[in-house]
């Protein structure tokens, strides 16, 4: 195989931007119609009343909150992983970072929609914003939901900046390779980038600041999401382990989402020369580690509840362990722990296909994990008289499906309008002023790829 040189990097990676096939339009139309269906389902739900969902007394939170936690979890793929890989200067990160960072941005946007979709009166969601109203009423800063609002907005703002900064030089490249309206648009996006030493220096500084800053923000976001549960005196919610457990779970599902996205890009955009099996193997190892960590957390959570033997907790414990939710629970353990450990732990299976199979399992498993945290606990609170169960209704299923389509659609459009692999970072070795770069950045454009 021939390593791509500067000229082929530019032509290869600009190819999807400058050429559009009919299949792209077909895909966008297909995904767009699913998203439109989801939106109209939401409007239907608002017009007909929230009772169109399967929510009941006492299961006041279910699918929507599961989706919320799931998507916020997926969002940890990007920024966190890319920030860590940047900070440790892992050479193999170069083709990976952007497709990871963009997952964060879109998954957060979708995830942040769910708390609004799940509101009884979604048209009043702006009451969470601390704006100076004539009635002088502020949001209740004691409420974990208010913390959520700030945490997610901080993370979204940070992630968008972190995504945008390294895109500036690439926008300039697109600008220089196009004409007419496209040149104008990318010219605006490139913010007058000329590639001067001063500009490179400022970009590097800004990116270093963002990389350091975004890590604590990412950790805090999912901790605060876990606080939505652990702050309430509900059996098996009220637990100190939830913070780290949720962060680990989020990174876990995030890596799985990233692997699936990368494999899809590699296949459909023909990026075999840029995304090597090595990238998947490295991410696969990371996924394996997170799978073990996740298993450790679940074991901890379950063991302490069982040993503590508190009556209310035990009701929830047994209903998930052997009761009506047990098929879901053991499916979760299988796809989140048993399968990844077998597939990714054995070197022969740690291929691209193997990684993708394990990742799909992890995505399903992590969705189930959130569902199993939300629903069984609410259905088995302290007074057995008001126990209940939950069946999802069509509106919830349709909206859930449409968010997966929305994610794919946004990702497809992004890959269409922005080089999905950072062109300048691949070429970083040939930078006009290499002295500005740390030692690690001066290696081969593709990093330590041994082929």
């Amino acid at each position: 195989m021939k390593l791509p040189n500067d000229a082929t990097i530019t032509t290869d990676l600009l190819h999807p931007l400058l050429n559009t096939s009919w299949r792209f339009y077909l895909l966008v139309a297909f995904l767009g119609s699913i998203v439109l269906m989801g939106l109209s389902t939401w409007i239907f739900q608002m017009v007909m009343g929230f009772g169109m969902t399967g929510i009941n007394n006492p299961i006041f939170w279910a699918f929507y909150i599961t989706n919320f936690v799931f998507w916020i979890g997926i969002s940890h793929a990007g920024t966190l992983i890319s920030a860590i890989l940047r900070l440790v200067n892992a050479g193999w990160r170069r083709p990976v970072t952007r497709c990871a960072e963009v997952i964060t941005a879109f998954a957060l946007m979708i995830g942040a929609l769910f708390p609004i979709i799940h509101l009884g009166r979604p048209w009043l969601f702006f009451w969470l914003v601390p704006y100076p109203s004539s009635r002088m009423i502020w949001p209740n800063f004691r409420s974990p939901l208010a913390w959520d609002f700030f945490a997610i907005n901080t993370y979204l703002t940070g992630s968008l900046l972190f995504l945008f900064l390294p895109m500036i030089p690439d926008f300039a490249i697109v600008r220089d390779h196009s004409t007419g309206l496209r040149r104008k648009i990318y010219g605006v996006l490139a913010l007058g980038w000329r590639g001067t030493t001063k500009q490179w220096h400022r970009l590097e500084t800004a990116m270093s600041i963002m990389a350091v800053g975004i890590i604590p923000v990412a950790v805090s976001v999912h901790t605060i999401v876990s606080f939505d549960f652990s702050m309430a005196p509900v059996p098996m919610w009220h637990s100190t382990i939830f913070g780290p457990y949720f962060v680990a779970g989020a990174i876990f599902s995030g890596i799985a989402g990233l692997i699936i996205a990368m494999a899809t890009l590699r296949k459909f955009l023909h990026l075999e020369n840029y995304l090597y099996p090595l990238h998947f193997q490295n991410l696969g190892k990371l996924l394996l580690m997170m799978s073990l960590l996740w298993g450790y957390f679940v074991f901890n959570e379950r063991l302490t509840v069982w040993y503590g033997n508190h009556e209310a907790d035990m009701n929830v414990f047994w209903v998930t362990q052997t009761g009506s939710f047990s098929p879901l629970f053991w499916t979760m353990v299988t796809v989140n722990f048993v399968m990844p450990v077998i597939i990714l732990g054995i070197k022969r299976f740690r291929t691209i296909t193997g990684c993708v199979i394990a990742s799909c399992g992890v995505c399903v498993g992590m969705w189930l994990e959130r569902f199993l945290i939300v629903v069984p606990s609410l259905g088995h609170k302290y007074l057995p008289y008001s126990w209940g169960t939950y069946t999802p209704q069509p509106v919830e299923l349709l909206i859930t499906v449409s968010t997966f389509a929305a994610m794919t659609l946004l990702y497809t459009l992004f890959a269409k309008f922005v080089p999905i692999i950072s062109i300048w970072e691949l070429k970083a070795g040939k930078h006009p002023s290499p002295a500005l770069f740390p030692e690690g950045a001066r290696e081969h454009p593709l990093g330590e790829v041994h082929i």
Binding site: G49, F50, G51, N57, I59, L128, S143, P233, Y385
Partner: protein, 230 residues
């Protein structure tokens, strides 16, 4: 002196007739959701009579427990509300401001007693039942939480009347609908800050206990445990 409203429920007197539930529905404009919705778990009863069986047949013992909002001093529903719809009043009630509620339903999750209810649809009454709506109580629209208020409209009316007459509220002068309707006089309402009131006297009873007291919610409803066999 500020009031601290509380209830005492004598479980020895409760025979589970359900008059309190009906009276509460009538007083507080609580919609009846119908068979279909009730089967889906959307029934709304600000007060409910929980029925528990003890023992094995034929030696069974039936227990009733009317459960309404416990108006906790340290209520888990209050801090979790992001918009202050659920908040604590000066006289110790957990108030719910319907207009301020955006329907996160977090309060209902946090409530260990499951006494908060969500309006899944706009309320409707079969004609001519809309004519019996209580004008003192607002009708709640779709998407908000509602719950027992200890009949705050009655508390307010009586305290205003007493103030106009320049006197204190007399013990037993305020009766929530459930207490008024109870044929066995099992439910007693009053001021827990007044040591002479009947509700304070009952709270001192050795049979007295509070529901799920170990959760630290400090409820203001005292249950007098049942001693008689039947």
């Amino acid at each position: 002196m500020a009031h601290k409203w509380g209830l005492a429920v004598d479980l020895d007197r409760c025979d589970g007739c359900g008059a309190c539930v009906t009276a509460c529905h009538a007083e507080n404009n609580i919609p009846t959701v119908g068979e279909m919705q009730a089967a889906r778990g959307r029934a709304m009863h600000w007060i409910r009579v929980e029925r528990y069986w003890e023992g094995e047949f034929p030696n069974v013992r039936l227990k009733f427990r009317p459960v309404m909002c416990q108006q906790c001093d340290s209520a888990p529903c209050e801090p979790v509300c992001p918009t202050y719809a659920s908040h604590h009043t000066a006289d110790g009630l957990n108030a719910q401001i319907y207009n301020r509620c955006i329907g996160t339903r977090y309060c209902a999750n946090a409530c260990p007693y499951n006494v908060r209810f969500f309006d899944f649809f706009n309320p409707a009454w079969d004609k001519p039942l809309q004519l019996q709506l209580n004008p003192d109580v607002s009708v709640r629209e779709v998407g908000v939480m509602e719950k027992c208020t200890f009949c705050s409209q009655r508390i307010l009316a009586t305290t205003i009347q007493a103030k106009a007459e320049k006197r204190e509220v007399k013990d037993g002068e305020i009766k929530p609908a459930c207490a008024q309707a109870c044929p066995a006089k099992a439910i007693v309402f009053g001021d827990l800050n007044d040591p002479e009131s009947e509700v304070s006297r009952l709270a001192e009873s050795p049979r007295g206990s509070k529901l799920l007291e170990d959760l630290g919610t400090r409820p203001n409803v005292n249950y007098l445990q049942r001693l008689t066999e039947a």
